[in-house]
Amino acid sequence: MSVLIFVETTDGEIRGTALEALSYGAEVARMTGTSATAIILGNSLHADNLVSIGNYGVAKVLHVQDERLNVGVIQAYTQVLAQAAEKEGATIVVLAKSSLGDAVAARLAVKMKAALASNVVDLPDLSDGFKVKRGVYTGKAFQTTRLNTENKILALKKNAIAVNPGSDLATVESFSANLSDADFGVKITKTDKITGEILLPEADLVVSGGRGLKGPENWGIIEDLAKALGAATGCSKPVSDLDWRPHHEHVGQTGVKVSPQLYIAVGISGAIQHLAGVSSSKCIVVINKDPEAPFFKAADYGIVGDAFEVLPKLTQAIKLLK
């Protein structure tokens, strides 16, 4: 029995949410009196990054050096994880929620005959069986769910656990899986990815703009504040529907659900669908001209005022702070 943690990488680095998965998996191993093993697929990660996984409480890393896995091929990834879990005798697989993690987790659940809990927001409760708390109704509620099977898969929502890195180093072991052509039946022909920007679903700080900004040409003040903070930029649904901003910036019930430390909403009235996408933010700031905007009821701090006057002041104050 052990815990296997899927570590997703991007641009040669370990994803921020994967560090949470590592910390979570290490803690679950401690709680269940077993060991934890991490697995990395593809050969784009630097060796220093591999051993640094030990900083997050996981002493062993399986490295699958197969360049076909440098891109996220869902079926092949599923095969590799299933074989690694079998080799390690892993009964619990932990991964961070993402466009790849979710897709792999669902297939892996069937392969491993494992109950799967998604959007897990806290460590499991082992006092009576195996129970986890997970987000449901798109951020509007939580449910405690009991997992009945011997094998279990936990897909974590961001901020399910705090990351406190130590200084231990992990030992790295090569692992090769048996993969067939059928596992690579889906061809990834091209990837269009913004590099070097903070990814919205994983950001700790987010600055979002709504229709109150009046047009895409006015996004400079949002971008300036985001840049000064080191934040990702987001937007409301009307803004992405109007093509003022790309769809992957749409925050809300049918867009990206974020759970940052700080969410700053500018010129967004706060429709219930938007609130659902931001409800797990630690601190919410609302800046709106309309004192009656419903978003103020969901906010920790509010400023009633013109964004074009308020935002440059905030950007300036941040710069002075640093």
């Binding site: 991007t10 891109v71 996220g72 993402s98 466009s99 790849l100 979710d102 897709a103 987790a105 669902a106 297939r107 659940a109 069937v110 109950a115 799967l116 998604s118 959007n119 129970k131 449901v136 109704y137 798109t138 509007k140 509620a141 939580f142 449910q143 405690t144 769910t145 009991r146 997992l147 009945n148 039946g185 061809k187 022909t189 990837t191 269009d192 990815k193 913004i194 994983e202 700080l205 769809h247 019930q253 049918t254 430390q261 700080l262 429709a271 219930i272 659902a276 609302v286 009821k297 920790d300 701090y301 509010g302 400023i303 009633v304 005022g305 308020v310 905030l314 300036q316 104050a317 702070l321």
Partner: protein, 245 residues
């Protein structure tokens, strides 16, 4: 060409969610139920492909009789016929087992559904169905074109898009902007009443998960207002009071 679109029956996105029976059941009173918002995109693209390719389009829902108005709406939007698996959809594995069972009998070329339901948000069913049937599954798919037996797709990934190609059959979890939502017209609504809706009993399965108690997020305290003329004070509060900077 045969297309299956799986739809969920969920509270409208504007719904305020509350619970009853010792916080173990959704309080359905006063809630409007609709086709899941992501399923609506899958359905709309299914109808477009049906018209382009001369395919047949079947809508499927796992739910009790209360979901029939939602299924009729899918028929009004353009599905040719529908199947209701007569059971409460208890978890993703249960729903996937039912869909895979129907799919094995009917050899669909394309199985479409939303990327996730808006009640449990697991985003698990498409992947599970794909694995059960031994065919590829992809999600969230935001673009889908069919050329012969080849599907050309785009999938949303963090910070961008991934373009993919795969041979049919496929299971796809869909999201915008794969198609524009379709609103049923009067002719569609009239014809939907006569379209076949088969009710099928579920196949047995193992129970992997059990939902226990629900809870609502902790409510926020009062919003602290800062005067616009002293906006810079906010930064100090965020740093020293909220401790998020």
């Amino acid at each position: 060409m045969k297309i299956l679109v799986c739809i969920t029956h969920v509270p409208d996105t504007t719904s305020k969610i509350t619970f009853t029976d010792g916080e173990t059941k959704l309080n359905k009173s006063g809630l409007q139920f609709v086709i899941g918002p992501y399923d609506d995109y899958a359905l709309a693209r299914g109808v477009e492909l049906k018209e382009q390719l001369g395919a047949t389009l079947t809508a499927l829902n796992v739910g009790l009789a209360e979901t029939e108005p939602t299924i009729r709406k899918a028929l009004a939007i353009g599905a040719d016929d529908a199947i209701r698996i007569n059971a409460e959809p208890t978890d993703a594995y249960f729903v996937a087992t039912q869909i895979a069972h129907i799919a094995r009998q009917n050899n669909y070329d394309l199985i479409l559904m939303g990327r996730e339901s808006s009640d449990y948000n697991g985003g698990q069913v498409h992947g599970m169905v794909g694995e059960m049937l031994g065919i590829p599954s992809l999600s969230p798919v935001m673009k889908l074109d069919i050329e012969g037996s080849l599907a050309k797709m785009a999938r949303e990934v963090e910070g961008g898009k991934e373009y993919l190609e795969a041979s049919l059959p496929l299971v796809l979890g869909c999201q915008e902007p794969i198609a524009e939502w379709k609103i049923p017209n009067m002719r569609g609504i009239m014809s939907a009443r006569k379209k076949p809706l088969d009710v099928i009993e579920p196949v047995s399965h193992e129970v992997w998960t059990a939902g226990e108690k629900y809870e609502l997020p902790a409510s926020k305290g009062a919003c602290k207002m800062i005067d616009a003329s002293e906006a810079e004070k906010l930064i100090e509060l965020l740093k020293n009071e909220a401790k998020v900077l």
